[in-house]
């Protein structure tokens, strides 16, 4: 029975990873209407920050704390100089952010020499509960994900800045007329999304090892999650990520693994066919 609990826990851990990655993407897509194709590379930079800290003899924990800060600053810069120009043209924004992502990815690939770098878990070993061993780091990821979801939700739904963000999403003109600086809010939202991506990268890298493609691996499934969950809400992408993550980890139990990946897409597309607005439609424009 122990192993079943453990495998269920692995599934939960993978869902957490998926949710962590999708969170930042979902917030930028929902609150700003920008599909950020550089999201995978933001995740990569978060992971790379931890690697830099570790290889310079600093604590990995410091790297994990620094990653969202670094990414928030980078997000602010990118928003100020590049993303801002794309608000009127979402399709061009996809291409533009893709280009940003490509530049970041190839620079990091060069810096790593194309190698994979192993980063040890800051919390090694296992936690034993009811006679079952749980990986300490996966447990930490599950708990952190829950905290981040709760904090982000409280922030967006219970604080005045959150209200302004949501207001600017629904009606930017009216928000501006009320004296809200939407350009500042957008910059803030983008930086916030980038910071979440950085944190996700920093947390997951000990599970996967650092390579230039660590983010791209998850990007397509992350977009699928956002589509499945519904753009324009906070909860939608989170639910979408949970569904996609659960399917990706669960389907190999039922079908041969090479079929599992495409099957996730087929199932998701069928769901989208019947619920084109995604799981959650409330609060949409």
């Amino acid at each position: 029975m122990g192993i079943e609990v453990k495998l269920a826990f692995d599934l939960l851990a993978f869902i957490s990873v998926m949710v962590l990655i999708v969170l930042g993407l979902g917030i930028i897509a929902s609150m700003m209407g920008i599909f950020n194709f550089a999201h995978g590379e933001f995740v990569l930079l978060g992971a790379y920050t931890v690697y830099l800290f570790e290889s310079n003899g600093l604590s990995a924990w410091a790297g994990i704390v620094a990653a969202p800060v670094v990414l928030a600053l980078l997000g602010l810069l990118l928003e100020r100089f590049i993303i801002r120009r794309f608000y009127a043209a979402p399709i061009i924004a996809m291409l533009g952010t893709y280009a940003i992502g490509l530049v970041i990815r190839e620079i990091v690939r060069g810096l790593l020499g194309g190698h994979y770098k192993s980063i040890a878990e800051p919390l090694p070993g296992v936690i034993t509960m009811f006679g079952v061993d749980f990986s300490a780091w996966r447990t930490f990821i599950v708990l952190t994900t829950i905290c981040i979801i709760a904090a982000t939700w409280l922030f967006l739904s219970r604080t005045s800045i959150g209200l302004q963000v949501r207001g600017s999403l629904e009606n930017p003109n009216l928000a501006r007329a009320c004296g809200i600086s939407t350009s500042k809010l957008y910059a803030f939202t983008f930086a916030f999304g980038a910071a979440l991506a950085g944190l996700a990268g920093a947390l997951i890298v000990p599970l996967y090892q650092l390579s230039a493609d660590i983010g791209t691996r998850f990007l397509v499934q992350a977009f699928l999650s956002v589509m499945l969950g519904g753009v324009g809400t906070f909860e939608g992408p989170v639910l979408g990520a949970a569904a996609v993550g659960g399917m990706a980890a669960g389907l190999p139990w039922l079908v041969i693994p090479v079929l599992a990946d495409p099957l996730v897409f087929v199932i998701a597309l069928v769901i989208v066919k019947f619920r084109p607005q995604g799981f959650i439609t409330q609060g949409r424009l």
């Binding site: 192993i3 453990k6 495998l7 692995d10 599934l11 993978f14 990873v17 690939r109 060069g110 810096l111 790593l112 020499g113 194309g114 190698h115 994979y116 770098k117 192993s118 040890a120 878990e121 296992v126 061993d133 990986s135 996966r138 599970l207 996967y208 090892q209 390579s211 493609d213 660590i214 691996r217 998850f218 990706a248 980890a249 669960g250 190999p252 139990w253 041969i256 693994p257 090479v258 990946d261």
Partner: protein, 408 residues
């Protein structure tokens, strides 16, 4: 960029530093002219390897080993007094790009021989432009799945027989593991290697509990771990490759597989790849290759010293897993063949000499071509990963002299 690009030593150092950082742009191609190249009619050697893209670590190691080996030959007076000129084209880990670049080597540079290609997909893509349309000798240096029997195409890396014939009986009879699982990446090398390995496992009284293929970048393996546990697997014969590999090995380790007496074996694992994982996950891993850094023969040791002198602190060590030993062997075989033809560089003549070429020394020992088979006999080593104070190393457990490739 079609003009001939000749660069001196200093420029080349700069170029290889860039290459070492993975930043050489494809398309141009490099030429390394030896000192006094004008003294005698040079022999033109083309290297087609993955300087950029996903396989870049292997490709850069290959290019460095090629430069190193050719420099040694040229310093010793070249082949029969003629120096070797090296030409590099980037195959960019992408067969479509590679075909065009390889054609440049053949048509513009008019090289006498091409060495390179790492993945099987790459070999399949470039062998036709080189061997058939290009009428040029081709040497493929990587360990691979076997069954490549094209005339004028010589393989200098280990075959499935060389990697399995010793290792699998060792795992079954000496280590005492009988129930095998074969988790694999979904492409041609694992499929054909597994086919061979399965035969050897069954012939030795072992049993394959499951053989399963995954997308190359799969990130979650709880289903596989479940099967390993349910099937009471005691030996995982792994052919999953990065990036899907790291999460698999981690989950396997976390499931307590090794702690409960299970054994992980992975036949492409060299010193480079150990660094892709935390040390404790690699402890006890069995590998079987044509060379390990811990192989204790004076020639191999000296080779490493000289290589370190030429490329201090390199990111691309001279190891077996990334075709580097095969590259060294390939160049030395070619040298031996051209010596045998007394400098006749025509493909038919060199190929006929290649067919029975022999080299006395190399990383891990000498090697000799099996006449008519286009593959070579070489020494093979079984090694196990040990961990000391967080550092990994291989201990060679058994070795076998001049193992037959059993191909063609």
């Amino acid at each position: 960029m079609t003009e001939k690009l000749t660069i001196g030593r200093r420029r080349l150092m700069g170029a290889s530093a860039l290459g070492a950082a993975g930043w050489i742009a494809g398309g141009g191609g490099w030429m390394l002219a030896p000192r006094g190249a004008l003294a005698a009619d040079p022999i033109k050697m083309g290297i087609a390897t993955d300087i950029t893209g996903a396989i870049a670590p292997g490709g850069n190691a290959n290019w460095q080993v090629a430069q190193f080996t050719v420099e040694q030959i040229n310093k010793a007076g070249g082949i029969g007094g003629r120096p070797i000129e090296l030409y590099l084209e980037d195959t960019a880990s992408d067969p479509k790009v590679a075909v065009g670049n390889v054609r440049k080597l053949i048509q513009e540079r008019k090289v006498n021989v091409v060495l390179g290609g790492i993945t099987s997909a790459m070999r399949q893509a470039i062998k036709d432009p080189i061997v058939n349309r290009g009428r040029t000798l081709y040497i493929y240096p990587q360990l691979y799945e076997g069954q490549e029997c094209t005339k004028h195409l010589y393989c200098t890396g280990p075959t499935p027989a060389q990697q399995c014939d010793k290792l699998i009986p060792y795992l079954i009879k000496t280590v005492g593991k009988k129930r095998f699982a074969m988790p694999s990446a979904n492409y041609v090398w694992p499929q054909l290697l597994n086919k061979y390995a399965r035969k050897v496992i069954e012939a030795n009284g072992g049993e394959v509990v499951f053989e399963e293929y995954y997308p190359l970048d799969q990130a979650e393996y709880s289903a596989t771990i479940g099967k390993i546990r349910d099937g009471k697997v005691d030996c995982v014969f792994n052919t999953v490759i990065p990036p899907g590999l790291q999460p698999f090995v981690k989950q396997l380790y976390e499931s307590g597989f090794q702690k409960n007496g299970g054994v992980l074996s992975c036949v492409y694992y060299d010193e480079n790849l150990l660094n892709y994982h935390p040390a404790q996950e690699m402890e006890g891993l069995y590998s079987c290759l044509d060379y390990f850094l811990s192989v204790d023969d004076p020639f191999s040791k000296q080779l490493q010293v000289d290589y370190a002198k030429k490329f201090p602190d390199t990111k691309y060590p001279f190891t077996a897993g990334s075709a580097s030993t095969g590259m060294y062997r390939g160049i030395k075989f070619y040298e031996a063949a051209v010596k045998a033809t007394n400098g006749d560089l025509s493909r038919e003549a060199v190929s006929a000499a290649m067919d029975k070429a022999k080299i006395d020394q190399g990383p891990g020992g000498g090697a000799e071509m099996v006449p008519g088979k286009m593959h070579c006999k070489m020494n093979m080593y079984i090694a196990q990963c040990k961990v000391d104070a967080g550092k990994t190393r291989y201990d060679v457990i058994e070795s076998d002299k001049m193992v037959d490739p059993k191909e063609c």
